[in-house]
Amino acid sequence: MSTPLEDEVLREQLERVWAHPTGWRGVLMAVDHKVIARRYIATAFVFFFLAGALALLMRLQLSRPESGLIGPDRYNQLFSMHGTTMMFLFAVPVMEAVAVYLVPLMCGARNICFPRLNAYGYWVYLFGGIMIWVAFALNIGPETGWFSYVPLAGPEFSPGKRTDFWAQMVTFTEVAALAVAVQLVAQILKQRAPGMTLSRMPLFLWAMLVTAFMVIFAMPAVMVATTFLISDRLVGTQFYNPAEGGDPLLWQHLFWFFGHPEVYIIFIPALGMVSQIVATFSRRTILAYPAMVLALLANGLLAFGLWVHHMFATGLPRLGNSFYTSASMMIAIPSGLQIFAWIATIWDGKPRFRTPLLFVIGFIVIFVLGGLTGVMLASVPLDLQVHDTYFVVAHFHYVLIGGAVFPLFGAVYYWFPKITGRMLDERAGAWNFWTFFIGFNVTFFPMHMLGILGMPRRIYTYKAGLGWDGWNLVASLGSALIAISMLIFVVNILVSARRGKIAGGNPWEASSLEWATASPPPVYNFLRTPVVTGREPLWEGDDLPVMSGLGDTRRETLCVTIVEAEPDVRQKSAPPTIWPLLAALATTALFIGSIFHEWAVVWGAIPVAITLCGWFWPGRPTRRAVKAETSLEERAA
């Protein structure tokens, strides 16, 4: 047992070693995973609200037939920007951002494994997001939907630079997502707390490990697809040009090879969040842990075998249809298994129905409904009937908002105290939940009906008397209720961040390691390295076993062996620097330049290379200086 004096000395020492610059330098040079993650989460939510505002505009337009509020060209941009922003600038980034905050803490680490890469990823993401929104404001926003099918998105039918901005925005966000994915793999495999064997890893870590591998294998597909698209548009390659033997279906295959796993890249982190919340608020470990881990792995694997179900209407061979139908239905098995395990955990535990658990229950209800329509859509005859109708819009909002946004809101209520040190207001939380839950169903349930009645997606208006008027009005009223719910959420966040109840280290009496440190955590995360002796470390005993000796004179993090998590190496951790920001600016110049000229890729690479040299510049005495010092010492001796 250490003495309080020893603790105090160590604390001061670590604060000195891990101190980050203050003021503007701190803003620009930060490499602390918590600082970067907070910015990431806040930025992603800004994009969420912007995309939500576009959705409100669309609902306003569709609330009555033959509305003249928005014209067809602007409407095309609205739904393209809504989908693009929600998928590329909100859903994937926010899940990764939460992981950037939590994974190092859950691993008992002092920082994320590649802090400068982490900062770089954030800046690239931010600049990519700003670029597309500035383009939208200047009337050069995307116009061909979030999946930009060719030939509609090709040079013939989408002249100008709108689609090029979209394609390059994809490159920005994928670079950022891949940077985080690599870090998460390395962090989770190599930088866990001693004793946190693979079989003791929290389910959130398992979920993020699976997600990170999925990002690594799926995102290159969309980068290849959009690079081919830009080159078709800029330098006249013929990948997608049927007139010269190219094939638009190549786009669909490449896009959906990314696009379907993308859905699970958003959904699987949410499963991890749900498992943490359910365990904490049921006061017991998650039932069937090994089966839950296997289900996450199965979700990750099966997600790569489903992409063709987005292409049933393109005329596939019958065998292909049957294969992808069965694969699509099969993924309901691991998802269903997890749902049953959570329900059983709540059933068998002593549940406390606080706001995070409310959102989890909302998730279960909505996601199961979305899952059911998913199984329906996996059947080719039904899919062909409702293809490109509002039935599909209803389905994917049920699985995406139900499957990812509800758990995310639960996660915000759950981990807000850790991030800010203050509790969110419970009563406002309940209002937030119920208005969201009711508003969501009022908005999206009628869309099933509209789809069955034949209303196509992406139409800017419709004639009266088709039987669509009433359902559209109901859906639009529901969207207003969602807007009110979001307002409650934002007010709750802003007020509670200043005046909320002080949280303390572990306000929910949870079991994972992030709750073993102060709220908000100090810059070095943990005074000493926590040691894990079971699946629920903080429920194992009254005190926490720790290991001392990790650098207090330089920034160090601990590497462990992969399976058994035995301490192995003390690894250097990079200090704050401006170079990731400069590298991101150089990358931005390259990406934006290449929208207009192909040689920008060559000339733009030079500043990128220079900034990378600065990034890795060794900050220590040169050979000459060392030699001079040695000879001086020899002379003195």
Partner: protein, 201 residues
């Protein structure tokens, strides 16, 4: 705050390691997986387009073999100095490691020069037809990797002459050697697609 009980000491652990014990190795592995997935998908696109464009190549003139063969032989032979440099780095040998780095930089530069000649002998343009587009795409994709590794090797070489190596940097040299191995291995299927595909498909 929860009470802490000290159960062990980490100060005796080494401050760097080679291979899978090193964090950087895992980072590089992650990027190799990403880039490998990119290569694989571009290869998939090649076969997808073969089904749509007949004859393959439409001009009936496949790329000339001379420079492609020279590149393939040299890049395969480059594994010998690459492996030697890797061994020197593992042994913390300052002079030989730097010699290996210079050698690898020179080989990278020669390979780039040959690659330039390969592009001249592809016998197709990127905008001619989907065949030309995908052949150029595969070649550019691999060339980007040669350039990246050459840049990286040159940087480490320069740094190694100005600053003394520490243990972590020897591990960095070893990781760079692993990445070069990846550049060598990925060339073989791409060479097959670019040079043999038009002759066999």
């Amino acid at each position: 705050m929860i009470r802490q009980r000290i159960v062990g000491d980490l100060s005796h652990l080494p401050d760097h390691a080679f291979g899978p014990r090193s964090l950087m190795w895992w980072g590089i592995l992650g990027f190799m997986l990403i880039e490998g997935a990119g290569f694989l998908l571009a290869g998939g696109a090649y076969f997808f387009l073969v089904g749509h464009v007949q004859p393959w190549p439409p001009s009936q003139t496949p790329p000339a073999l001379t420079w492609g063969a020279a590149f393939t032989i040299l890049i395969l032979l480059s594994e010998i100095p690459n492996a030697w440099t890797n061994i020197q780095a593992h042994r913390y040998r300052d002079g030989p490691t730097r010699v290996g780095l210079i050698l690898m930089s020179l080989i990278g530069a020669v390979l780039l020069a040959i690659r330039f000649l390969e592009f001249q002998a592809l016998n197709t343009r990127w905008d001619a037809d989907p065949y030309g587009s995908i052949v150029w795409a595969l070649m550019i994709l691999h060339t980007a990797h040669v350039i990246t590794d050459l840049g990286d090797t040159l940087y480490i070489t320069v740094v190694s002459f100005i600053w003394p190596f520490d243990g972590g940097e020897y591990a960095g040299v070893a990781d760079n050697c692993v990445y070069w191995r990846f550049v060598i291995l990925t060339w073989l299927p791409i060479a097959g697609l670019v040079y043999l595909g038009p002759r066999l498909l």
